[in-house]
């Protein structure tokens, strides 16, 4: 048995938990990490708000976040009344959400928390700083589901990915998709200075750089011409820098136009920006295209919720084993943790 999930995140000042899907067990992971009661002050906040009592989509019970006495909670003011821990209000943050301004509180008892935090990267980073200044040693960020988790991973030191049966009833499918997604998150970081090219660029731009690093094209990544412009560089070493999403239509059109892509390097902000399936990724890389990111996610573990909202329950041990083997990373069964919501350790398969 290796290290527990709680032990894995020791020493990180900020950890984001992101989910492949809704009901992937993000909240259970958070509850587990909060329940281990480490000797350092923990704080918790969330990207936006994701806290209905039951999941609106699947009508399953959504576990509430249960915080321990001394934990700092950053949440929107209108949700304070729904929190049932005795609390001390430490400060206002100046970040406004549809549910009111985000306020930093300290729990003076255990209790359930409803959490809504800021949704932009800038505000989240600034909130995490405030929490550290107030004495929090470890900040846990409830990141949204995968595609919306940019703000969470951009402001965190380490990341945990939650996946599970909610994603698919087929274990092979879960394993394959999770492998694909962890690969995207951990794509190599592209080091050289490309900030100049992105300065003043419109949102969702694609900027082409030639071998000398000079800008040789600029186009909206959402437009039809995007793939045309990239394909027009056929054969000449080119870097396509995206500051927004790298979408399937663009890449598919590119694949249709170019037989060889060994002249092309694609760089996105981070792995969550690649909105492509594993088949497309394989097509790209087998033709020589290199995929990279400006910010690699420090993914330290994957958690699995073997129970689907439909009630279907997969063989947890087998799933965890196979997944861990495939992705070469510690995998934890959160269902085991959920059953012992306040136990000291979640089971690890690694």
């Amino acid at each position: 048995m290796g290290r527990s999930l709680a032990e894995l995140i020791e020493g990180y000042s900020c950890v984001a938990i992101i989910g492949m899907e809704k009901n992937a067990g993000k909240t259970t992971v958070l509850n587990h990490l909060l329940s281990t009661r480490p000797p350092v002050v923990q704080a918790i906040t969330s990207i936006g708000y994701d806290g209905e009592d039951t999941d609106q989509v699947t009508a399953t019970d959504k576990p509430s976040i249960y915080v321990g006495c001394g934990t700092m909670v950053a949440t929107a003011s209108s949700l304070l009344g729904q929190c049932d821990f005795t609390r001390e209000l430490l400060r206002f943050t100046g970040f406004h959400t549809p549910m009111g301004e985000v306020v930093i509180t300290r729990a003076r008892s255990d209790g359930f928390a409803q959490i809504a935090g800021p949704s932009t990267t800038v505000q989240m980073s600034s909130l995490i700083n405030m929490l550290h200044e107030l004495g929090a040693v470890q900040v846990l960020v409830d990141g949204a589901a995968a595609r919306k988790s940019t703000a969470a991973i951009a402001s965190s030191e380490a990341c945990i990915l939650a996946t599970g049966a909610a994603f698919s009833p087929d274990p092979d499918d879960i394993i394959e998709q999770t492998r694909h997604y962890t690969e995207l998150l951990t794509l190599p970081e592209f080091e050289p200075d490309t900030v100049f090219a992105l300065r003043n660029a419109d949102a969702n731009s694609c900027i082409l750089l030639d071998q000398g690093g000079n800008i040789c094209g600029r186009v909206s990544a959402l437009s039809d011409e995007c793939a045309d412009l990239i394909a027009g560089r056929n054969g000449q070493p080119t870097m396509a820098l995206f500051n927004g999403a790298v979408t399937r239509p663009v890449l598919q059109k590119l694949l249709d136009k170019c037989r060889q892509l060994d002249w092309l390097q694609i760089v996105a902000e981070d792995g969550t920006r690649y909105l492509i399936n594993s088949r497309q990724k394989l097509d790209l890389t087998s033709r020589g295209a290199r995929l990279a990111v400006r910010r690699q996610v420090n993914l330290i573990a994957v958690t699995v919720n073997p129970t689907a909202p439909s009630g279907l329950k997969l063989d947890s041990a087998e799933l965890c084993d196979r997944l861990s083997e495939k992705i070469g990373m510690p995998v934890f069964d959160v269902y085991a943790a959920q059953n012992h919501a306040f136990s000291r350790k979640a089971t690890q398969y690694a």
Binding site: C69, S77, D84, E88, R108
Partner: protein
């Protein structure tokens, strides 16, 4: 509450300066919104606020850093009027409102302490003691910035929480699912009684705070006014402004403006490595006629004068070496192209409407009327008659009117005449090169100062010369020259 509209600056210079003011708190912005020019019956108040500003500027010039603490307080002062309104409406304050009020009371108490220590003693700025508000919201001896519904407020609350804490530790240690669920139900019921008791405590706190609302509002307003005063102070220091002298508008008062500058134009010039030439002028009641070459700075001179007069009425320092003026009832501009196709007005039409407003104002009080090239957009023979009439009208109105014009032959009995000195060297020629170097050549050869003339002045005929300096097409120039009398330009 009665909502006032934001003050709209009369001159572009003042609009620019107001946007440059450093104001952080909403109370400061509120004070800025309520800024109004002093009317002629408010001379004493205006003098008092100018003298307060003098005290502040003197202190800042000695040591700017004494204001650092106040400035940092304004930066994080929250606008708590909503919470105060709710208290007055009898609502039970929620915990964020109590945190907000506590924070405000702490900020304002440190502002008051700083102010009392500073020795500024400005007659219009005073802060009430609201330290008891902090005591109400902080029952412990150590004052902390956070707020919570403290057990010290209620024995019952203390008991409930102790019980709840016990249950929570039991839940934590319990391994039996059913037993744990029972404990959780118990805890949930206890949470309800805790919330009910907290509500009573907050209700009681609300009642205690109610008697402090007026004083908190007073302090909030005072803080806003003081922040505006501080912003005026820092502006005066930044541009090295001077205190204007303001007098009651009697018949004999002269407006004296020595070496005025226009900070907006100066900033633009500075970015091109150029300097603003200060302008001086004296106005007596009646009409002053201003003539001068094109591009000689007539408009800038007029706007600088109007801006400084407006600043003085708003209780700001002015951009001049010395500036004294009567306290005007109004400052009115007829300047620029008011053409507006949407309203169906031509430039001339817009001017005539402004003219009617001006004539109405002159019947209500003594003001400053600034007219830049009035009637320029109609035919010259009628235009000059309009200017002649406007000059005569203003001369007998008792107000102070300045009319800049290119029209020849305007003569008004007892009026004053000024002229831009203009081109220093009457023989300069085009420098060649791009448009910038042409303009530079022109600017370098222009003397923007104003000189007083007798009434046998000549309107300068520099248009042809200036066009040639700006390197107008030679073919066009040849045609143009044929239309000038052969005796010269």
């Amino acid at each position: 509450m009665h909502k006032q509209k934001k003050y709209r600056a009369i001159t572009p210079g003042v609009a620019w300066l107001l946007s440059e003011l450093q104001i952080e708190s909403l109370y400061g912005r509120e004070a800025l919104k309520n800024l109004r020019p002093a009317k002629s019956d408010q001379l004493e108040q205006l003098r008092q606020s100018l003298s307060e500003l003098e005290t502040m500027v003197a202190a800042a010039r000695q040591d700017r850093s004494i204001f650092d603490q106040a400035a940092s307080i304004f930066k994080c002062l929250r606008f708590i009027n909503g919470s105060l309104d709710n208290l007055e409406a009898g609502q039970v304050p929620d915990e964020t409102e109590l945190l907000e009020i506590k924070g405000f009371a702490m900020m304002l108490t440190s502002l008051k302490n700083w102010y009392d220590r500073s020795g500024l003693q400005l007659p219009s700025v005073s802060f009430s003691d609201i330290e008891p508000v902090i005591k109400i919201l902080n029952p412990d001896r150590t004052v902390v910035a956070s707020f919570h519904v403290h057990e010290a407020y209620s024995q019952k609350l203390k008991k409930i929480r102790a019980e709840k804490l016990q249950l929570e530790s039991m839940i934590l240690q319990c391994n039996d699912q059913q037993q744990r669920d029972e404990l959780r139900d118990q805890r949930a019921r206890l949470v309800q009684t805790e919330k009910a008791e907290e509500h009573l405590v907050r209700e009681n706190l609300g009642r205690q705070l109610l008697e402090w609302v007026t004083r908190m509002r007073h302090n909030a307003m005072a803080a806003g006014r003081f922040e505006l005063l501080l912003a005026k102070t820092l502006l005066a220091c930044r541009f090295n402004c001077t205190c204007p002298a303001v007098f009651a508008a009697t018949k004999k008062v002269t407006l004296q403006a020595e070496e005025m500058i226009n900070p907006e134009v100066e900033t633009i010039l500075a970015s091109h490595g150029k300097q603003f030439t200060p302008v001086s002028i004296e106005l007596n009641p009646g009409t002053t006629l201003l003539t001068g070459a094109n591009m000689g700075g007539k408009s800038v001179a007029l706007m600088t004068l109007a801006m400084n007069a407006e600043l003085a009425t708003l209780g700001f320092f002015v951009f001049a070496r010395r500036f004294s003026m009567p306290l005007f009832d109004f400052i009115y501009l007829i300047a620029g192209d008011g053409q507006n196709q949407a309203s169906g007005l031509s430039s001339f039409g817009a001017e005539i409407i402004r003219l009617s407003e001006l004539t109405a104002l002159t019947r209500q009080g003594v003001g400053l009327a600034i007219c830049d090239e009035f009637a320029r957009s109609t035919n010259p023979s009628e235009g000059s008659r309009f200017v002649q009439a406007l000059g005569e009208f203003l001369q007998q109105s008792g107000s102070y009117g300045v009319i800049a014009t290119h029209f020849d032959g305007i003569r008004i009995a007892e009026a004053s005449y000024y002229q831009v000195i203009g081109l220093k060297n009457k023989t300069i020629s085009a420098a060649g090169g791009d448009r910038n170097s042409l303009l530079n050549n022109l600017c370098d050869n222009m003397d923007y100062r104003l000189v007083r003339l007798s009434d046998d002045y000549q309107v300068p005929k520099d248009a042809l010369h200036i066009a040639s300096i700006l390197d107008v097409d030679p073919e066009f120039m040849a045609i143009l020259r044929r239309h000038y009398p052969s005796t010269g330009e």
